[in-house]
């Protein structure tokens, strides 16, 4: 087999984009984890690993697995930016739900020539573990594994797998993928090589990254879910009507969206998963979940905009 033979430098489209933006990735903030502090690397030499020749395409292959809405959103983004994309979902989808662009391959077995793998599960941690174990076995040593790390830290996830150096956490929630920035959290094992490949990978998708510490909720999910939680407490206490709450925040505090509508867009089950993880991790009363939010998340009910009128 020609498995180990490197691909010729024929297709340089994605690589070129990366080089142009690579100066930006030299950040003044040094990520403060042990493996990142030990050695420095020449950033110019880093590139997203190429797919191997056994795969019948000259593009790098991205493998996505996890919760359906996020997998779909990431799949569309990757294929639009010149990657080959292969996906798998935690739950089987009906034909109606599957509206993926042509070219996206659906396969629950992990192909062996993957360049980058992304695991997108926030709610069911056991499924996440199974997905990661499967990925770690199938992936080459050079392919980074990006894993959503807002309900369980990336470092805790890395304890599940061999080849820990490949794992990097990202903040993935439905709707976040449309934004120009991604929060990235290296684990205590992540070396600069992996982090740089990840940074380049996001640059090829047209996104900047912000490197933050590996903590439950990371930055925006933690802030946003606590805002939604506070709104749910206010509803529980009957301080104001749900529609009025959204109006108060958008008109009074210049929020881009009211918390009730925001929760609906992200998905209440996701918000609940983040809040539950924060409460478990931080063990503080301030992260207690508003009863109505918990009940509505578990029963799948939430206020739609203006449904109260």
């Amino acid at each position: 087999m020609k498995k180990n033979k490197k691909k010729p430098e024929k297709n340089t489209k994605t690589t070129a984009k990366v080089t142009e933006a690579s100066s930006k990735s030299t950040r003044k903030e040094v990520p403060r984890t042990p493996s990142l502090l030990t050695k420095k690397h020449d950033l110019q030499k880093v590139e997203v690993p190429r797919s191997q020749e056994s795969y019948k395409s000259d593009k790098a292959l991205v493998y996505l697995v996890g919760e359906a809405p996020m997998v779909e959103q990431y799949a569309e983004l990757c294929i639009a930016h010149g990657y080959d994309v292969c996906v798998s979902w935690n739950e089987p989808l009906t034909k109606k739900q599957n509206t993926l662009s042509p070219g996206i391959i659906i396969s629950s077995t992990v192909p062996e020539n993957i360049s980058v793998a992304i695991e997108l599960t926030n709610i069911d941690v056991l499924t996440k573990k199974k997905n990661l174990e499967k990925l770690a076995k199938a992936l080459p040593e050079t392919a980074p594994i990006l894993s959503s790390s807002i309900t369980i830290t990336a470092t805790e996830q890395s304890a599940w797998i061999a080849g820990k150096h490949r794992l990097v956490g990202i903040a993935a929630l439905p709707t976040f993928i449309d934004k120009p920035l991604v929060e990235v959290a290296p684990t205590i094992y992540t070396p600069m090589e992996t982090l740089e490949v990840v940074s380049r990978f996001f640059l090829t998708l047209g996104k900047e990254i912000e490197i933050v510490q590996d903590r439950v909720g990371m930055v925006l999910p933690r802030i946003l879910c606590q805002v939604i939680n506070e709104a749910a407490f206010a509803i529980t206490e009957d301080i104001a009507a749900p529609d009025d709450i959204d109006k108060a925040l958008t008109l009074g505090m210049h929020f881009p969206l009211g918390p009730i509508e925001w929760a609906e867009q992200i998905g209440l089950d996701q918000v609940y998963a983040v809040l539950k993880a924060l409460h478990t991790d931080l063990q503080e009363e301030r992260y207690r979940i508003a009863p109505i939010l918990k009940q509505m998340a578990l029963t799948g009910v939430w206020w739609k905009q203006s449904s109260t009128h």
């Binding site: 930055v219 802030i223 407490f233 008109l251 505090m253 881009p256 503080e284």
Partner: protein, 286 residues
């Protein structure tokens, strides 16, 4: 239909509401303790109206008619005939309580007495009057001429008639009223509080730098300003005072707990933009 609006306090908020009312063709009695403050307020209103005329937002002939609707007063009993009195004196519970005691004695018993407080309890203020049923909160936002929201705050004893009339007044002023119960921070401040308190905790726990948190909140969250920029803008001392007030009023609710970083910054003289240093450095801009 009510015609006469009284406003107590000709500071930024009081003056702004007077201008709004006069533009909505309502007669205003604008009260403050001395002529100098009142004269300054009228000058500012004139300047604002001229700006509106220049921008084509106000017909030229409306200028003097609008100004004539605002009468300045230095004696509280002159507000006796007003149908609604809106107070916007300094955010100090003792000053406000004292004022409402006087308003109660010097106004007709059917008048609505409203406070523009952003963080004090309407119920506490109302407790100083013989008719707490007619006391209500009208929380306007900055800048008062463009911010459309007004929180109409029901005190413990505020009756429905007062609430309905206050809502009608807010609509007359061209604002969007939402009704809220009298709780610490009402709705907008309370629900937006985690944006600041969690950002401060993330900073305190060293999860990310202030610039990074602002960048994430803006670029992923879609906010126009980040929490630390906003804190610098409003003043770290004001932010600390407000969160301390909410925390005290709630008898120590953990979600409302102020963050020690704010206190340390205030003690070190880092007050935000006004001191040229806060979470960010503004020295070069000076």
């Amino acid at each position: 239909m009510f015609k006469h609006l009284g406003i107590v306090g000709a500071g930024t908020m009081g003056r702004g509401i007077a201008q709004l009312a006069a533009l909505s063709k309502i007669d205003v009695q604008l009260y403050d303790v001395n002529e100098t403050i009142l004269r300054r307020a009228i000058e500012r209103i004139k300047a604002d109206l001229r700006k509106m005329i220049n921008l084509g937002n106000l017909p030229h002939e409306e200028f003097s008619a609008t100004l004539e609707r605002i009468r300045t007063r230095t004696s509280l009993p002159d507000l006796g005939h007003c149908d609604c009195i809106i107070e916007s004196v300094i955010e100090d519970i003792r000053v406000k309580k004292d004022l409402f005691k006087h308003l109660d004695a010097n106004t007709k018993s059917t008048a609505v007495l409203a406070s523009t407080t952003s963080s004090l309890s309407i119920t506490s203020i109302a407790a100083m009057t013989r008719n707490p049923e007619r006391v209500i909160g009208l929380h306007f936002f900055h800048p008062v001429n463009t911010a459309v929201l007004v929180e109409v705050v029901k005190g413990y004893k505020t009756n429905t008639e007062t609430l309905d009339r206050a809502i009608e007044w807010v609509k007359l002023l061209g604002k969007y009223p939402i009704t809220v119960k009298d709780t610490p921070g009402f709705i907008a401040s309370r629900i937006s509080l985690p944006l600041f308190s969690e950002a401060l905790r993330l900073l305190g726990e060293n999860v990310a730098y202030a610039e990074q948190i602002d960048n994430i909140v803006k670029k992923i969250g879609g906010f126009s300003t980040g929490p630390f920029e906003t804190l610098d803008e409003m003043g770290i001392d004001s932010a600390l005072a407000e969160t301390e007030s909410l925390y005290d009023q709630s008898y120590g609710e953990p979600r409302l707990r102020p963050h020690p970083i704010l206190k340390q910054m205030v003690e070190s003289g880092l007050l935000g933009k006004k001191s040229a240093k806060g979470f960010f450095n503004y020295e070069e801009m000076k």
